[in-house]
Symmetry: C2
Subunit: 312 residues, 2 copies
């Protein structure tokens, strides 16, 4: 059994490659929910949806979020009404949120809803939210008017297009949250645990903040292989590089190695960062250098194969 710790797009691509090389029924993905939000009354789980849509082959790869061939009738009408339209929700995507919101309102857990949607879309892996309890990533930024301001992750990421300086992060609700059913067992029993190439601070960070998860990972350190999301000092997507720098970390694969040292035994870094390998190895047991840029499904599968064989 393999367990993957997942954020959004990067994780979804690696998982898609992984499912090409192993039996999907042997894979469990534990997905970040710190990005979740309630908007327009709807419960939205962006990372779970990105993973679900991508693995179902429904994702809009060019855009990097949402569904391919999406229509926008609701958003168009909402804009005409003067409603909040900064968080773009396509019509088919909205159906997912309506489904989730109605099931949650009727007492289902996020785990149950996530499993139902995965099953309806034909997925065969086990998809788990990190927790059924609400954890919300809050971002303290330099306010335009001076001083600082704490806003939700999606306000930072989507509304402000992450074009602001981050001063600190907080995972509201994490201290009281429990890992979703199955998460700790999966981490204890896994043959291999994969840290997907997701933002270390706001995709993997919330998972580590749920009591019990980091402890479980530390115990399995030798069997944890993570892929650095930082390649040549830059994030392939999103603000991970700037955020690392702004929060006092080295925006490089080495910075990631240092952050992950307590629970990651092997770090996979990109060929362009080969010179960092010795320094990375000083932070941990093992560093594997390979092509980590998943420009195609075949390259994602090749990376997944390297990760499978990379254990310390």
């Amino acid at each position: 059994m393999l367990v993957a710790l997942a954020g959004g797009v990067g994780a979804a691509r690696l998982l898609a490659g992984l499912l090409d090389v192993v039996d999907p029924a042997t894979v469990t993905a534990v997905v970040n929910t710190g990005d979740d939000l309630v908007l327009h009354g709807l419960s939205i789980s962006p990372d779970i949806d990105t993973v679900t849509y991508t693995l179902a082959g429904l994702d809009d790869r060019a855009q990097g979020w949402g569904l391919a061939g999406e229509s926008w009738a609701v958003m168009g009408a909402l804009e005409a009404l003067g409603g909040a339209s900064w968080f773009r929700l396509g019509d088919r995507d909205l159906a997912t949120h309506l489904y989730r919101s109605e099931r949650l309102a009727r007492g289902a857990t996020l785990s149950e809803v996530t499993a139902e949607l995965a099953e309806r879309l034909g997925l065969r892996l086990t998809l788990l939210p990190m927790s059924d309890d609400p954890v919300r990533t809050l971002v303290t930024i330099d306010a335009p008017s001076g001083g600082v301001e704490e806003i939700s992750f999606q306000d930072y990421f989507v509304r402000l297009r992450h074009a602001v300086v981050v001063r600190s992060l907080r995972f509201s609700g994490a201290e009281a949250a429990h890992p979703a059913p199955g998460v700790l067992d999966a981490l204890a029993d896994a043959e291999l645990i994969i840290g997907c190439p997701s933002n270390p601070l706001v995709s993997i960070g919330p998972l580590l903040a749920v009591p019990g998860i980091e402890d479980a990972l530390v115990k399995r350190r030798d069997d944890v292989v993570a892929v650095s999301p930082i390649v040549g000092g830059a994030a392939l997507k999103g603000p991970a590089d700037r955020m690392l720098r702004e929060l006092g970390h080295d925006p490089s694969a080495l910075g990631v190695a240092r952050l992950y040292a307590p629970w990651v035994g092997t770090l996979v870094i990109d060929d362009v960062d080969a010179a960092l390998a010795p320094a990375v190895e000083r932070e941990r047991d093992r560093c594997v250098v390979t092509d980590t840029v998943m420009a195609s499904r075949a390259r994602a599968a090749a990376l997944a194969e390297v990760v499978r064989g990379a254990r310390a």
Copy 2:
């Protein structure tokens, strides 16, 4: 100033006619919210929306609900996911519910949201929900499995297509509800109060159940003119006739007259019910006989003119 007490379709048609013959700025409609529901996380106010869409000229007249030229991308995708799709929500209609849900979540009152949506759609009358507090019409029906069951109004009306026997009604929350801001002042100050041709039990009934509204109407009885929604012993739309019978009332204009006697000074009944006029007059001060079937906008306007001149 004119005040209209409104349910859904029948009220919307009379109001459309009324706005053709008087300055819309002089009209206040107080609309039933007992039919409101939260579904898929969305706050839906069917009667307010029917009135709003109709007065904005956006209603699907043939279908009798929703918007003309509506698209159904979200519902189609929701059905594909196996979600609850018995309450049909078109894409443009959904935008209304997203707008309302988000505004309510941010602390706006239903009155404020209703006014905003009316303004955005170009309406010039004052549209008020009967209350900003939740009032929910609950229907006790003969359960298919024997015994009785209490279900929400929309479960009864839409999901079961009102094809069940009603044993009783209850307006949950009504005893603690307050009339929305402006409702009691409008009723106290109106030159004329119009009871629209809506279901007496489940459209007008919830308004009367909000403490203060029926008392205000009783005080203005001489200035209240209601239009019977029962024509020739049948409801023009919906289950009002069966519901009256099932709950022990006469399913006729005379039955309506008896129900409304405490607060309606003048009842307008249809030409086909002319023979009932003497009996209706024994229940109240005055009965006016005219064509009440609003088959066209012109006939709705003609009915509105009769209503305006019908006061006792």
